[in-house]
Assembly symmetry: C2
Homo-oligomer: 866 residues x 2
């Protein structure tokens, strides 16, 4: 395509990682820095893409390889395939995004029956030469011709047995020569051809094999899991072989510039004397701490320390390197940003700021917000031994152990004295008290946004949902989890961060909220434009949210308040009322209860805004299931409230328009609470009253009038805003008309996703949506990551049109996406005023909001030519 497919490590190439892959770009960059790197060249990802499309090497590629190979021969003074002084190379895959272990590498290319002798000659090491050759045949056979590795392992084991050798090193040069011969025979048996003796042919086939490895199943699965696009392709690096297995002055190792577990500065790594890198990876020999190298190879060690320091300074990030020492000479084979734990990421970032290596903004920008999640919940002890009994959806992060309990009432009771896990087919609003008391929730049905999942995330409680290998027998009080038959009362452990279920207890480790974390979030707050609020329904949640840095409540759902034990009978009375008067009587009893809830929340959020959403769910959610209702009148009411698609039925503001007395009671409770709190504390709460599920301006027009009239009856002093959820496509489309009656918009992206995509979240997850994600129809779950080009485009329309009629309208998001980093960035780009998410996600959102602002500033800086 570009006419240029190959770049030498010492050639400046534009395109960076995208073109050269991570490994190739690193080698080129290190070469430019003067860091010792073996010579070689990179075949670009362009070549790979063209190859994968045409299923043959692109025109001109072979010639370019020849050219660069000749240059390499000149530089090294060796000949590729030369029988006397052969040039050996490795062929290493290297995609733009690191996919460790997913693709293939072949070492020692260039060896054949003749040049193996030349190698023995020039190195004076027959054993080394034969060992190198047998490794080539094995790797080449596996990677290029797909021969099962077991064949080679068996042949090796047999020979060792014959020779009475315990370990590979016990084999002599002659033994290895025999092994080469055996391997070649094996190769011919399996492929029908003899092992290629032409070095150039070896190279060509190896390059193709690495290209092909992009599409091998494990690489595909990995990409799916990590949301890596399928069309990136991989670069191929052809690197002069350096040998860590040449003797006592040689060795190989990996090193981190800081401790990847803790982030602490200092030496961290492993070293293996007289070995090749593959030996470390294969686990054949146990490596030693890096300190050992200091004693064995002090000069190379000093050089390594210096190189690591230079690399960190250059990249201004913690590096993970591979190196080889050949006869006291250090070569770096790879450098990349080190993978690290959340805690390590935070500490390293803070320390690098202290060291003056990076700025505070850099520190903020480089923490992965999603990774922080692990710090906010208990985790399975990484050192614990356990067997996974089943896997479900990772619905709410954190791990928990407890006794199996199969109903909410028992959970509520037993949960007071010992840890329990509430296990069920699914959960309903009736189960809230049990969920509150349980350590965690495990359900067989339901997806990432099922009742169990949503409520659990809201509570910051571990939940594994949609665990298909779970079945429950309520009659015998037993459950089956995978192949385990368990009884109520048996202990299980769940990890809601990974979806794992374990039969029996597992040691947990506590959340690590530490100083580094606070420090980074402080820097984040200095850099973000988006406000971060929390979704919280109780004073306790509100307090916790504030502790995590929430700047108000973006969504206080009033229906959870209707579910409390002592209230539900009154709520049912209200629903069963035969007329408005009876209904008002029941509402009158609820009013002081709601008022006291609101007072608690206002106090917890003193000085900060609190958005209260009026009653949203269909009324049948407050009634018992039909089969449990004994009263005939109740049964009739349940039937009359039954709906084919409750998601699209009589709920949201439709309730408020059909039975205005319900919303009137709620408004009254809000205003009375505001008055009471102001009198008590001297500080007026910042009240925002929100109407759900508005689709037509006329709905909000009328509800606003009811709200204001009711509020005025209670007090003319309390100031408050009246706004609406934007959670229907029509509300987005006609945001201009709706904004005329709204002081604020809050995007309810859960419901907006459901209606825009026509995906019922209860029916999609675990069913067709799961298949869509497995099959790659969708790359991401739209209930986790905002569907930016669909739902997001409607939001953009809503923002534009809403502002067209009310320029200063306040806008936020209170769907689950409000705590998801990519979605937070999108909301920043839309120009929203705030995001609101569950209390436990507030720190993530603060960080993501700052990163979005920094990215924007970075882009502006670039655009300004800075």
């Amino acid at each position: 395509m570009s006419g240029r497919y190959v770049f030498d490590f010492d050639e400046p190439a534009e395109g960076g990682k995208g073109l050269l892959g991570g490994k190739g770009a690193g080698l080129a960059e290190m070469t430019a820095l003067g860091i010792p790197v073996p010579a070689g060249f990179t075949i670009t990802t362009d070549a790979s893409r063209d190859y994968l499309e045409a299923k043959e090497l692109p025109e001109g590629l072979e010639a370019e390889i020849d050219e660069h190979l000749t240059a390499l021969e000149e530089r090294t003074g060796k000949g590729f395939g030369d029988p006397d002084d052969p040039l050996l190379v490795s062929v290493r895959s290297g995609a733009a995004v690191s996919m460790p272990g997913m693709m293939d590498t072949i070492l020692n290319l260039g060896l054949n029956d003749d040049s193996v002798e030349g190698l023995a000659e020039t190195t004076g090491n027959e054993r080394f030469a034969q060992d190198s050759y047998r490794r080539l045949i094995q790797m080449y056979g596996e990677v290029v011709d797909g021969i099962d590795a077991d064949n080679f392992e068996r042949a090796l084991a047999e020979l060792k047995k014959q020779r009475g050798a315990q370990q590979d090193v016990d084999l002599s040069a002659g033994d290895l020569e025999q092994l080469v011969s055996n391997f070649k025979e094996l190769y011919e048996q399996e492929t029908g051809s003899s092992f290629p003796q032409d070095a150039r042919e070896q190279l060509s086939r190896a390059v193709r094999a690495v290209f092909d490895s992009w599409d091998n199943p494990r690489a595909q699965v990995y990409r799916r899991a990590h949301h890596i696009p399928d069309d990136l392709g991989t670069a191929v690096n052809v690197v002069q072989m350096v040998f860590g297995n040449k003797g006592g002055r040689s060795g190989t190792g990996v090193a981190f510039t800081r401790d990847p577990s803790t982030g602490e500065a200092g030496l961290y790594g492993e070293f293996l004397a007289n070995a090749q890198g593959e030996d470390v990876v294969a686990g054949i020999r146990t490596p030693q701490p890096l300190q050992e190298m200091k004693e064995r190879l002090p000069e190379a060690f000093e050089q390594l320390l210096d190189t690591m320091r230079r690399l960190e300074e250059h990249y201004r990030d913690m590096q993970d390197i591979e190196f080889t020492v050949e006869d006291d000479r250090l070569y770096l084979l790879q450098t990349r940003s080190a993978k690290r734990t959340a805690a390590a990421a935070l500490k390293a970032a803070v320390e690098m700021v202290d060291e003056g290596l990076i700025s505070r903004e850099d520190a903020v920008a480089r923490i992965d917000p999603a990774q922080l999640d692990q710090l906010l919940h208990p985790m399975l002890d990484p050192n614990a031994d356990y067997e996974i009994a089943a896997k479900g959806l990772n619905a709410s992060p954190g791990a928990a152990s407890g006794k199996i309990v199969l109903d909410a009432d028992t959970a509520a009771q037993q949960g007071e004295t010992e840890p329990v896990i509430l296990v069920g087919w699914e959960t309903s609003p009736d189960d809230i008290h049990g969920m509150i008391a349980a350590q965690g929730i495990l359900t067989a049905h339901g997806g990432m946004t099922s009742h169990a999942a949503v409520v659990a995330r809201g509570m910051g409680k571990p939940c594994v949902a949609g665990c298909e290998e779970l079945s429950i027998d309520a009659d015998t009080h037993s459950v089956r989890i995978g192949r385990h038959e368990l009884a109520e009362g048996d202990v299980i452990t769940i990890d809601g961060g990974s979806g794992i279920v374990i039969a029996g207890p597992v040691e947990l480790v506590a959340p690590q909220i530490n100083e580094d974390f606070e420090t980074i979030l402080g820097w984040a707050d200095n850099n973000r434009r988006l406000q971060v609020r929390a979704n919280a329904d109780t004073p306790e949640d509100a307090a916790k949210a504030r502790e995590f840095g929430a700047q108000g409540i973006g969504l206080c759902r009033t229906e959870h308040m209707f579910m409390a034990d002592e209230r539900l009978p009154i709520v049912r009375e209200m629903i069963m009322a035969s007329g408005e008067d009876e209904r008002r009587d029941a509402l009158e009893k609820l009013l002081p209860m709601q008022q006291s809830d609101f007072e608690g929340i206002f106090e917890a959020m003193a000085g900060l805004p609190v958005t209260i959403r009026l009653l949203d769910p269909p009324l049948h959610e407050f009634l018992p299931p039909l089969e449990e209702a004994t009263d005939q009148r109740m049964r009739e009411r349940i039937k009359s409230l039954q709906e084919s698609n409750p998601m699209l039925g009589t709920r949201g503001c439709r309730l408020g328009l059909l039975w205005p007395e319900i919303y009137e009671m709620q408004v009254r409770a809000i205003i009375r609470a505001a008055v009471a709190v102001e009198e008590r504390t001297g500080e007026a709460p910042l009240v925002e009253i929100m109407h759900p599920l508005v689709g037509f301006a006329e709905e909000l027009h009328r509800l606003r009038a009811i709200t204001i009239a009711t509020a005025n009856e209670e007090s003319e002093e309390v100031e408050y805003l009246v706004g609406t959820m934007i959670e229907l496509p029509r509300a987005c489309i006609r945001a201009d008309e709706i904004a005329e009656h709204a002081d604020f918009f809050s995007f309810g992206t859960n419901d907006l996703t459901q209606t825009t995509l026509g995906f019922s979240r209860d029916d999609a997850e675990g069913k067709f949506l799961t298949r869509y994600l497995e099959d790659g129809v969708l790359e991401r779950n739209p209930f986790e990551t905002l569907d930016q080009s669909g739902v997001g485009d409607l939001m953009r329309v809503a923002v534009e049109r809403g502002r067209s009629t009310r320029e200063d309208i306040k806008m936020g998001i209170c769907g689950e996406h409000g705590g998801e980093p990519a979605s937070v960035a999108f909301c920043h780009g839309l120009g929203l005023d705030y995001v609101s998410c569950s209390p436990y996600r507030v720190p993530l959102a603060r960080l993501a909001a700052a990163q979005a602002a920094l990215a924007e500033r970075g882009a502006a800086y670039v655009a300004a030519g800075g």
Copy 2:
């Protein structure tokens, strides 16, 4: 507002009907034409609007009235309130849109205790004068002071009894003087004040009363029912009284320029000698045919004929007039376009074209498409006597009588030999065979788009749905309809055009599809740009659609084919299959059946396009209800397929992606049918394969590949298009991406309305949507008339974006809106290629499409300064 609130009839006023109301504009126009009209003036709708807003007469209005009253006095030579020669006036409401009988009129204003004597003197008719006065008191009392009419009727009856009078005319002048006195006493009793003697005060209060009558409950209900905006207001006409009750040379009547029932040209009307118009309306005396007038008042009659001819020529439309003859002198009191039956509208239009009065385009433009509906179905005999037992939703037009049958099987059996009405709580796809056999369907539940309603409309069969006064006792085989207890087998009659249910039989009149109808539709076809297709699932429906002028099939639903008695067991086998192989076996059996359906449809539509939608509904719709399933495996499958919101669940193309073998079978059946039909007839069908519920381009991308691969396996010769329904908001938003894989789009506005508005049609109608319409939150049912500013705006986005990536993409609509005139016009404006609707609505759609094209051309003509 305008500074000018009053216009004389002989003053040219801009603003027409909107400003002067229909009646005022007519009087002014007739005055200008030199047609004899009483003198007078019009108070504008502006005045009414200002009054209704401020609740007081706008400033300056009284002075303007004085001014015009003085001019009227000068012109007539009489004085308003003059005791000797009083000017009498009527005050008549007249809104821009005719609302017959909805608002108020007062006659004889200007009479009081003195002027009644002057009137007796100048007319030489004491009895007439007293009669006029007592009428004033009565009407004024009722209209201005809200006195119950019964009071006056009782007083009149009492006097008649005292005097031994049979009829009003038997009362003498003295009797009437006594009645005046009694009425005045009554007035004082009821209001606490004596009857106003000041003529000017009478007038002011009368004007206010007419203004107020705009907001009386019956007017509000009427406006709601006829979608007349609430803020139009009414004009008030102050008209010099002319008297048809002055003696033998006087009279009054109404006349149509053509027969309003048949449309035939010729005299048509009624006349009453020596009477006032109110006598005709009140039904006190029975009017005579207009011919009578020829003998009694030959000169006035000739003048009337001439005037009617001139009016029709001027208005170029059939007129409905009111006239009065006073002492041989003809006065026209009103002219307006005559309300007429659909048949009359057609005939009149055709004849006016023949007479050269109007153009063909005019004829097409003036037929109300909605009215045509009545011609396509049997109707209740307008002369029949019946009592309405209950009312439900007018779900599918037409009337039917038959025996009550409570289950589909019985209906299917009994319906073969005698007319039956299928009565149930609701219907399901299982009931199709019973619905086919029944004359009509009556359900207690469900809305305008419930299963019963949709299927009935598709079949062109009468249906009353959501009849809340219906309850069914299956055990005793009896039903209650309103207060009637009926048994299965009793005859009922339903009118699906009005929603009426009648206990017992009612005479029906047959549909009138006549030559005029064909003629007008022919002219319409010459003028429209939109193609009109039909939604049809069977060869019979296809043939019927073609007969009605359909230009192809826009939606052939394949699921109805799955429901047939002999197929359902195989469909269930397919659903119950334990793996792909078993599923394929069942599908293999279905294939020839589907193929034969398609062959029949292709033959019926030879030469025209047929769009076949692949399987759409969730699979559980094909299984029995859980409580009816006895087989344990079946029960489990039903449970596993149950969904919370099936509308948003595993349906549409999601089925095709989860179980591709289903769509493969359907594609195979389509292609085989096409091959067979081409071989048999020599004509290749125009096949369009449509994938439902696509939201993501990737879905269609994959399904298109499956479709093409499967089709190619069957034949490489058959040509076909592959397209998609656009029925999700996301599909509209990302129509650009989807169009890259689609040869055509078909807007499924039923589902698009459900998702865009968040309205489940099953749950909205009869529930919150009905309340919304009653309360005026919404003006129209969005499932009947497209929500243009919401759903329509999304469609506009889809059209633009779809064409942005595929300029020549074919676009149509196949939702129920495709047969609704306003929505057809909207689709024309969007630039769609076709609309598709149920066969019975095809003629309406043809007409509506032509009208939209003519309106556009008209607008273009105006815009071009023509």
